[in-house]
């Protein structure tokens, strides 16, 4: 806060008209007092500013998180229902294991999503978000190329970015392409499931269990 310094100097000149020696001490006292006032004002200002926007921030975060986790919760609820139905109907252990496995994956996704939500700044989308964005665009070919890219990226560490770049050119979605062809360290993100992916696996499982399509068409 350099303006304080110059302001103090300025004020000194206006108000005090004393001996050079006395002015030295007076100046120090003045500076110290004024710095205190600034700090107090700053603290009060921060409190007041926070008060104003705390609720606003809360509402924003709440709405965002509730919306995202609602979908996640829906999938988890469906899988729990499926699991309890399997228990009640004494399905074989392989079916139970498959459902339990999917449920575990969903719970992991849930934890990761919350971490993402808490960790990131509003302006920075997560990788999972980007894939979701692509899905939302409802571009059929983009979806399939995403799957392709996912599978391919797992091999990126061996084959390098060049390989990835090649298939990505086919996707036709520029922003997606640029994110997709990121540095190899990103490859660990590709192992993270997406909500859509988990939904698909759930639907597939329901089919396997012999449940009619109406059971899961709402998914």
């Amino acid at each position: 806060m350099s303006w304080v310094q110059s302001a103090v100097n300025q004020m000194n000149d206006e108000v005090f008209d004393e001996d050079a020696d006395e002015m030295g001490i007076a100046q120090k006292e003045w500076k110290s007092t004024m710095e205190k006032r600034v700090k107090e004002g700053y603290r009060e200002g921060v409190e007041a500013g926070k008060q104003l926007t705390l609720q606003q921030g809360f509402n924003q975060g709440y709405g965002e998180a509730a919306k995202i986790m609602f979908s996640c919760g829906q999938l988890k609820g469906s899988l729990s229902a499926l699991l309890s139905w399997c228990y009640n109907n004494q399905c074989d252990s392989s079916a139970l294991n498959k459902v339990t496995d999917l449920l575990n994956k969903t719970e992991k996704y849930e934890e990761d999503t919350i971490k993402d939500l808490s960790g990131r700044h509003p302006q920075q989308p997560s990788f999972a978000d980007l894939l979701d964005t692509v899905e939302d665009m409802e571009l059929g070919h983009a979806l399939s190329s995403e799957e392709q890219c996912n599978g391919i990226r797992e091999q990126v560490s061996e084959n390098g970015a060049q390989f990835c770049g090649q298939s990505c050119t086919n996707s036709g979605t520029n922003s997606f392409q640029s994110k997709c062809c990121r540095r190899p360290e990103e490859h660990k993100d590709s192992e993270r499931p997406t909500l859509a992916g988990l939904k698909e696996q759930t639907v597939a499982l329901m089919e396997q269990l012999g449940l009619s399509p109406s059971t899961f068409e709402y998914l």
Partner: protein
């Protein structure tokens, strides 16, 4: 003459203090508004995530069970179906993204109660992989 000058000097000090305080305040205020949004957002995310997850799971659970029971057209499940439909309807009407909704707590308790009833009728323990403890949410 000297007295008047002292008074002036005193006034000038008081004004200077107020001015410095004010300038500090303004700078703090701007910082505060930014910090407030971020802090508020964190709390909001925690709460919103919990509620969204809970209510969403009730919905998914109910909708799946409803479909599973609707396969059987006999009366055996008509009571269960009725209660499931009622819960689904209540959830779909609930503004889960709005923390300022005035009947939030009341509606939440009603949905929780209905969900417990649903679990009781289906012979499923209500904390079956759906409780907040069970999902190991940690912040």
């Amino acid at each position: 003459m000297a007295a008047a000058r002292e008074t002036d000097a005193f006034d000038a000090i008081v004004m200077a203090e107020a001015r410095f305080h004010g300038e500090g305040y303004q700078e703090g205020y701007v910082e505060g508004t930014h910090a407030g949004v971020i802090e508020g957002r964190q709390y909001g995310i925690q709460q919103g995530a919990k509620i969204g997850l809970e209510i969403g799971s009730y919905l998914g659970f109910s909708m799946t069970w409803l479909r599973l029971l609707q396969k059987h057209s006999d009366d055996k499940h008509s009571k269960k179906i009725k209660v499931l439909e009622s819960l689904i309807e209540t959830i779909q009407r609930f503004p889960h993204q709005d923390p300022t909704y005035d009947s939030l707590q009341e509606d939440l308790e009603r949905m929780r109660g209905k969900f417990k009833q649903v679990c009781s009728l289906l012979h499923v323990p209500s904390d079956f992989r759906l409780s907040r403890e069970g999902s190991a949410l940690s912040f």
